[in-house]
């Protein structure tokens, strides 16, 4: 029997990796994927607790999160395409128009 904390720790590690990915990646797409990874880590926690408490509501929420992730991916990728079209780069450091 695997203790619930093991799943939680797995989720935490995945979340941490996702965070590092967002912070160090210079590629917008990889960054985006890191965010997806973080979302999934959160989903893992929801599912683990759902299982531990035997309440299925967590599943519904995860389902909703997945849908939102899909929507986000659609809009986000659309944005990436537009940015690339305008600036011809996916280097996130180039998009520093908001400074000062």
């Amino acid at each position: 029997m695997v203790p619930i904390s093991a799943y939680l720790i797995l989720a935490a590690v995945l979340f941490g990796i996702g965070t590092v990915g967002v912070l160090i990646s210079r590629n917008v797409i990889v960054m985006f994927m890191s965010i997806e990874l973080m979302l999934n880590a959160a989903n893992m926690v929801l599912i683990a607790f759902s299982r531990a408490l035997s309440i299925a509501d967590g599943h519904v929420i995860v389902f909703l999160v997945l849908t939102v992730a899909a929507a986000e991916a659609a809009v986000g990728l659309g944005l990436i395409i537009m940015i690339y079209r305008n600036r011809a780069t996916i280097n996130i450091d180039r998009f520093s128009l908001l400074k000062w």
């Binding site: 965070t19 912070l23 520093s96 908001l98």
Partner: protein
């Protein structure tokens, strides 16, 4: 008649308003008629008032007229009120009388000037201010006149404003006068806060109750007032403006800088004699300053070549005499000399003006000479004035000057040293005045041909005032003959009600030793006459008989001569010690204190914030990743806070 007192100053004011407001629109004849007419009418009113006053019993000779309340704040209550008493009566007669003559003279003198109207407007304004000064019944109104005449003096000295030296001199006069006024103001404050009033009558009445005789307060108050007097009446150390004031038109010099305005200080001291009598130390200072100025200015007068400057220093010197008289508590003698001086010095200036007029505006005596035959009337009248100022018996100056010398010797406030100073000055005066006469009217004609062609006797409007003044210079002294001549001193008697006179104890002392003093008085009189005659002889010898001797003497004394010609370098001294440092200090305040320190501090504060913000704005790099880093870091901190906080 008393209710028309206000007309005396008002008439010249009306003249000023007409000439001033309609400047440039009136023909010259109207301008001169208005100007002279207003002063003339004022003179007539003054004469009538004088006789009114004379008709009153000696103790009740006082005409007052209050027009309205000028300033009132709490206990301060100042009226615009005029007061005619024997003292101011003499003053208004002198002011309107001499003033009228000079107005008339000016019509001729200024005939060719472009700014005819402006000139007469100023002159009328001056007469008005001077009359306010002498008629004021309180300190503050007197101060109005005091500053008013200062203003007119400023305007008239700088009348030919296109000349740098003229406007400089005007400004200098005004500022030096302001320094004196500063003293006047302080004196006024002290008096007001002790007596609670600024009215002359109240102050005179209450002063003995309020002030301790000889105490510090009254002494300081009197000294402050005296500072005012030194400014206006050109005494050491504030005399420097008067010689420069000769940049103005000559009639102005005659009216303002000889006959009337400069004597305001003497008038003021005489007016406040009650206070001065309570402050013997202050009186002593007045006497010493007066005597010192008399001698000092006379020595400078010896070496001046500009005809007007000689007269200017002579004026300073004669004013010193008047202060000497006041300082030895012989106020009526001071006023007497003021009057006679007004006659003969005005005459001298007008004569000098006539000479300058003839010489096409040249003033250097070294370029004159031999004018006697060209300008007979001018010569005669000026000679009379010279004799008067030198103190030749029979002429007005003799009586007044002699009285001062005698009082400085005999008065309980007097001292032999003061007499000696006055005595020497008398000799010097005679010398430099005759030097002037000899250089100007005798000897060879040293002017250039062009000037020579234009020499002419002045027109009637100028010579008639000269003649009238000459008559006054001769007979003016008769009203104040010394007791030893067996005549009554009408002048002293007339002024007696308003003069505090020497203290009782001194008066009895004077009476007791009267017998012994009579002979002494004769001796001193002869001594001074003898000295004067010797001085005249010396002048004749050096400048007429043996001009070579004058030259060699001048060479021998060249050091002293240069010093004298440069007026002891007092102007330079003031420039180096007061004016330059003040300007440098001001520049320091502006450039260093204001711009660098205060503003620099504030701007520094501003730029400090600017720099801090500038440093901080780099945090806003616009890079998503650095924002994300900070965000995550923040999350860590928040979580850590709760995690650690929960333990």
């Amino acid at each position: 008649m008393a209710e028309y007192l206000f007309l005396v100053p008002l008439l010249p004011l009306i003249g000023f308003l007409i000439n001033g407001l309609l400047i440039g629109r009136l023909p010259r004849s109207v301008v001169s008629a208005v100007a002279c007419g207003s002063v003339g009418l004022s003179l007539i009113v003054a004469i009538m008032l004088f006789f009114d006053l004379k008709a009153l019993p000696a103790d009740a000779r006082l005409i007052e007229q209050t027009l309205f309340t000028w300033i009132s704040a709490d206990i301060l209550h100042v009226n615009l009120a005029f007061m005619l008493d024997p003292l101011s009566a003499i003053m208004i007669l002198v002011v309107t009388g001499v003033g009228f003559l000079i107005h008339v003279y000016s019509v001729g003198y200024m005939a060719h000037d472009k700014c005819f109207g402006r000139y007469f407007a100023y002159l009328n304004l001056f007469t008005f201010s001077m009359l306010v000064l002498v008629l004021a019944d309180n300190f503050l109104l007197m101060f109005v006149g005091w500053e008013g005449v200062g203003l007119c003096s400023y305007l008239l000295i700088g009348f030919w404003y296109e000349k740098q030296s003229a406007s400089d001199a005007g400004k200098k006069a005004f500022i030096v006068n302001r320094i004196g006024d500063f003293g006047f103001l302080i004196g006024m404050f002290i008096i007001f806060w002790h007596v609670g009033s600024l009215d002359f009558a109240t102050v005179s009445q209450n002063a003995p109750m309020v002030f301790a005789a000889g105490g510090t307060v009254i002494t300081v108050a009197c000294l402050c007032l005296f500072v005012g007097a030194t400014g206006k009446s050109a005494q050491i150390p504030l005399y420097v403006w008067l010689p420069d004031a000769m940049e103005g038109p000559t009639p102005v010099s005659a009216l303002i800088h000889a006959a009337t305005m400069v004597t305001a200080g003497v008038y003021m001291i005489a007016r406040t004699n009650v206070l001065y009598m309570m402050a013997p130390d202050a009186l002593m200072v007045v006497a010493i300053v007066g005597a010192a100025t008399a001698l000092f200015a006379a020595t400078i007068g010896l070496a001046q070549n500009d005809i007007k400057r000689v007269l200017a220093y002579s004026t300073v010197s004669q004013l010193g005499y008047m202060f000497l008289a006041c300082g030895v508590a012989a106020f009526s003698a001071g006023i007497f000399h003021l009057m006679t001086h007004a006659f003969f010095k005005a005459l001298l200036f007008l004569g000098a003006g006539s000479v300058i007029h003839a010489m096409s505006d040249k003033q250097d005596m070294r370029e004159m000479g031999g004018l006697k035959k060209h300008l007979p009337i001018t010569f005669m009248t000026m000679l009379i004035a010279t004799l008067a100022i030198s103190g030749i018996p029979g002429f007005s100056g003799f009586f007044s000057k002699d009285e001062i010398l005698w009082k400085s010797f005999s008065s309980s406030h007097g001292h032999v040293a003061l007499w000696v100073l006055g005595f020497i000055t008398a000799g010097l005066t005679a010398f430099y005045m005759f030097r002037l006469i000899y250089l100007t009217f005798y000897g060879e004609e040293r002017m250039d041909a062009e000037t020579k062609k234009h020499i002419h006797e002045s027109p009637r409007t100028m010579t008639v005032p000269l003649m009238i003044l000459a008559v006054l210079s001769v007979i003016g002294g008769l009203v104040g003959m010394p007791h030893i001549f067996g005549a009554t001193n009408y002048f002293e008697e007339w002024l007696h009600p308003v003069m505090a006179g020497p203290p009782q104890e001194a008066a009895t002392h004077a009476l007791a030793s009267a017998g012994a003093n009579t002979s002494m008085e004769w001796i001193l009189m002869f001594a001074s006459v003898a000295l004067v005659l010797m001085a005249i002889y010396l002048a004749w010898y050096l400048y007429r008989k043996n001009t070579a001797a004058a030259g060699s003497l001048a060479d021998k004394l060249s050091g002293a001569r240069t010093t004298l010609a440069n007026k002891y370098y007092v102007d330079e001294f003031y420039g180096a010690v007061v004016i330059r440092p003040l300007i440098v200090f001001s520049l320091f305040l502006w450039k260093i204190v204001d711009v660098i320190i205060i503003d620099g501090f504030l701007n520094g504060l501003a730029s400090l914030w600017h720099d801090i913000s500038n440093a901080l704005r780099h945090a806003q790099s616009g890079r998503v990743r650095s924002y994300a880093t900070m965000f995550v870091f923040g999350v860590i901190l928040v979580v850590a806070y709760f995690v650690l906080g929960s333990n």
